[in-house]
């Protein structure tokens, strides 16, 4: 919040800075396209993970409810989009209809998970949410019989891209001499949605709701004694977090054109949680940094580890995936030692850790 709004100090400087950042973000896809179109796609996926991390941050960072099955909401959103905009059922609704539907269904699933787990905390809640994530994935994998709803492990193909009238986000358009490829168009769309989601998160944090979550995270009994309806507030956290996941899922469907249950396995939930923890639970900017870092790092490794090994040993000794997990684990251990509250910790979180030590 402060960084965005507190322009009292040096208003001109801040606005110039913001304008420069904005300009860089607008020019980014063309710079990336110079290296390779794949990088624009990677950036888009990274932005989707920022959505996910911000959504999970509401549940874990703001309200302090450990959720290990968050990817289920991403899956619900993705399947909602896929089934309502593909030849699978022959339904082709426009995206501005489906995205809200996907968000609403994910929200419903959030409440579905939240309601029976209201009295659980910490480890116990983690176990139930972990089970929930797996149940959703297994359902998606098996709901091809007796009635074929999800098409099972084969997944759903030929999903419609985002489309406004005749303007499709999949095709390449040339405008003012610049080629706007599909990924570049998606990038701009995602950027706009990202901005909206960041603003919502920042406002949420400073709101009455945000303060209620903070109280619940700190001490639930005391929160009730403050006159906070802890039941509704916890459900709201689950519902809001889930809706963000649902929106991200819908866009994932549209961008990929193909989804299958394999995209929504447990390790994805853990990755999103790691993004939140690494970046700094409860701090919107920290979570964004964490999500970008963990999304880009493996890709950078993929493009450096292989050639490096080829050059050094003449062949591949260690798979990039293995190195990625190794470095990833190493980074988490280092972080827990030196920055336990995350790279950009939230002020309160940091203090909490100091108090408890």
């Amino acid at each position: 919040m402060r960084a965005l709004v507190d322009t009292k100090g040096h208003p001109v400087l801040v606005w110039v800075g913001l304008a420069l950042v904005g300009l860089a973000l607008v020019a980014l896809p063309f710079a990336l396209a110079g290296i390779g179109t794949a990088w624009v796609r990677i950036t888009n996926l990274a932005i989707l993970f920022v959505f996910l991390a911000l959504g999970l941050n509401i549940v874990v960072g703001f309200a302090g409810l450990l959720d290990l099955g968050y990817i289920a909401f991403y899956a619900v959103g993705a399947y909602a989009y896929a089934l309502l905009a593909s030849p699978h059922f022959g339904i082709h609704l426009p995206f501005w209809v489906i995205l809200p539907i996907g968000a609403a269904i994910a929200c419903l699933f959030g409440v579905l998970l939240g309601a029976p787990t209201l009295k659980l905390r910490g480890d116990y809640l983690a176990i139930v949410t972990l089970g929930f994530g797996e149940i959703v994935r297994i359902f998606l994998n098996n709901l091809s019989q007796p009635v074929n709803i999800t098409n099972g492990p084969q997944g759903v193909t030929l999903i419609d891209p985002l489309r406004i009238g005749t303007f499709s986000f999949r095709d390449t358009d040339t405008f003012a001499g610049l080629a706007f490829t599909g990924p570049v168009k998606y990038y701009y769309f995602l950027l706009v949605v990202l901005l909206a989601i960041i603003v919502i998160n920042l406002r949420l944090q400073d709101s009455r709701i945000g303060r209620a979550w903070e109280a619940i995270r700190e001490d639930e009994v005391a929160a009730r004694a403050m006159g906070i309806n802890t039941r509704n507030m916890k459900l709201l956290a689950f519902a809001m977090g889930a809706s963000f996941g649902g929106i991200a899922g819908g866009m994932f469907s549209a961008m990929q054109g193909f989804i299958s249950p394999e995209s929504f396995i447990l390790i994805e939930s853990i990755m999103v949680l790691a993004m939140v923890v690494l970046g700094g639970m409860g701090n919107v900017w920290g979570v964004i940094v964490g999500a970008l870092l963990l999304s880009f790092a493996p890709e950078v490794l993929r493009y450096t580890v292989e050639p490096a090994q080829q050059a050094l040993f003449g062949r591949m000794l260690v798979e990039p995936e293995v190195i990625r997990m190794l470095l990833f684990g190493f980074a988490l251990v280092l972080m827990m030692l030196f920055r336990p509250a995350g790279l950009l910790p939230s002020a309160t979180r940091k203090r909490e850790l100091e108090v408890r030590r």
């Binding site: 005391a222 009730r224 309160t348 100091e354």
Partner: protein
Amino acid sequence: MTAGADATPLLALEGLSVAYGGIRAVKGIDLTVGRGELVCLIGANGAGKTTTLKGITGLQPVSGGRIRYDGADITGRPSFELVRRGLAMVPEGRGVFGGLTIEENLTMGAYTRRDRAGIAADVERVFALFPRLKERRRQTAGTLSGGEQQMLAMGRALMSRPRLLLLDEPSMGLAPLMVQKVFETVLRVSGEGVTILLIEQNAKLALEVAHRGYVMESGAITLAGDARQLLNDPAVRAAYLGEVRATP
């Protein structure tokens, strides 16, 4: 100085029972707190004092009887609603928000209110009551000593502008000097016109500050009456004030 002359008491428990599963921890007790009164509920560990409080505040389901607050039946009402009606509690073990600053803790206490100016004024009022908290307003509550945390918990409860304050064992785990201070504070808050139900194991101090007292034993009220009288009651002295056996 026995208040409670008003027709209807602010809080009345009528045959209140609270059970944990099959175990009845509170077995049909009657208790009243008049407007402006400071009433204490004393008893040994495990007598059912805290459970009584949990029953009143909706933290534990009531298994029988009625709770009347300001004439209205509030049996089984959820805690957050009671705060809005002016019933504040300081939970056992204080329950301050350790990661938040003292100031943030106090504003959290005013969660049910929306008058920013009034809240700011009340924060200052609490600081006037507890100057020690003012010195450390930007410090996190977790860094305070036990006694200071108890003061903060009380100050925070006052932030909701309660008419009835329920205090659960404010002296628990505090150094003797701090216990004295906490009881002075209870008296001061009572002096401001807030009705108080004080739950205490430290029977002597509780009876010294209270107007009236109730003695609880294995889930039932065994004695009730004027605090001075209870203080001089041989049975109370024997059981709670350590007259027979010379142990504190």
